[in-house]
Symmetry: D2
Subunit: 146 residues, 4 copies
């Protein structure tokens, strides 16, 4: 068992890319507020954890089409550590949550254009082209977790 459950808000709009074979991949970071009391606020500690999340295929497109900066989500997935070689020859690690479920929670930030009222992530059209993967190196086409 390798299970992660996060509830929080997107720090930015999701970034949707496509692999060479055409699979959609969405990346975003979820800010999870720490419970009051877990850390003393007065000693300059962070008050949130920022967790990189990656979503594949249909769910990626749904997230790209329905989530924006500030959106509240409930994410279920697994922890994955990818490894890659940095330019200086050293080995680097990228840890992220590969989500297999993203629920859209209540209070959603406003923006021009109508978003759906919330609900589960499913069914949606397909957007367009690539971008840069902000969480590390290129994601290989085969790297589909489920």
């Amino acid at each position: 068992m390798n299970k992660v459950i996060l509830a929080g808000r997107l720090t930015r709009d999701p970034e949707v890319r496509y692999t060479q074979s055409g699979k959609a991949v969405a990346s975003f970071t979820v800010a999870v507020d720490r419970r009051f009391g877990r850390k003393n606020a007065d000693n300059n500690q962070p008050t949130a954890d920022f967790i990189p999340v990656v979503v594949w295929e249909k769910l990626a497109e749904i997230c790209g089409n329905n989530l924006i900066k500030g959106s509240q989500v409930l994410v279920e997935g697994r922890l994955q550590v990818r490894t890659y070689d940095a330019q200086d020859g050293s080995k680097r690690y990228v840890t992220e949550v590969v989500a297999n479920e993203v629920e859209f929670m209540g209070s959603r930030p406003q923006r021009e254009g109508g978003f759906q009222q919330g609900g589960f992530a499913q069914g949606a059209p397909a957007p367009a082209a690539p971008a840069d993967n902000s969480f590390g190196p290129a994601i290989p086409d085969e790297d589909i977790p489920f």
Copy 2:
């Protein structure tokens, strides 16, 4: 909510260190086998995820005293991304699971000296001195998650 649940085996004996104020910290990596079918075995993909885990205080000592390479564990905790400055001035990220519960599961590897048959992690004496933190930079003394 920021919750992680892992079931797997230690890739090495746990490493126990102490902060300046005397708090114990144990670090180990849990190998979580991927379900057959999640990845095709034939395309050179990894068959396990290797997840760094950090444990504090009493639970750290219990882990240090009862777990060894190969021990089967069920870990519950939260995902934490620490940030630090590398020697070359760049910013690096260390992601780990901060465990608040470690259950010892069944089949445990043999070793000289008697280990307990299993059970929950609790109650235990205290070992001794530091070492190096294999997962990143020094863990500050205040960084206690609960």
Copy 3:
């Protein structure tokens, strides 16, 4: 490990009772919508699961003071099966989630009087008197899960 995580909405206002020794107990039911597709809507199947939740002590009072029918919550707890003897002498089972954490999620139903904007369940005054436990027999005073 005995862990339950639910995201849903209260079907009614929470009911707060007190044990003889004065401990608060809140009871409510969480309606968890099933994912579209898990069940075909067209064969008269329910579209939600209704899960009884029980909360103790300080958290019970916070829930009583901040949640109402329709409130969206994220509940973490454990499953508990209590047993009791029915009037006809037969043995009955009551299964409920004993929550140790209740997060208040976004979109909250309106009602006269100001409720807080959301956040984690903690810190709050104490309400008053008993009522009837809608999920089964009297909860014994000692039955505190944590």
Copy 4:
């Protein structure tokens, strides 16, 4: 989200039944030990929770073929409350975990005949006929959760 994760041992051999349309259903109870300290042992409280679990189709057959009384399992599923009318006309509730994943954990009880060493639940032949559903009324044929 409606998620349950249990680690424990079967109190009896699984019971495998078949619906009219031929779908396999396995039922068993998982005993989950409570953490020491969660309950004082000295006040006659139970030291374990006994949770009814239901498994469908292929996974049901795998469980029927590989698990026995005492088997250690890690179960992931969802909580379901079924309702039915008792003979006396009153309404009764049956709560159970509908498992979608069952991992076989380490130390497994011995019995004549070779069982596999453990691993994930998948792939297996099919056993035979019905029996009585020990956890409540007949499970309708359509009631397949995934």
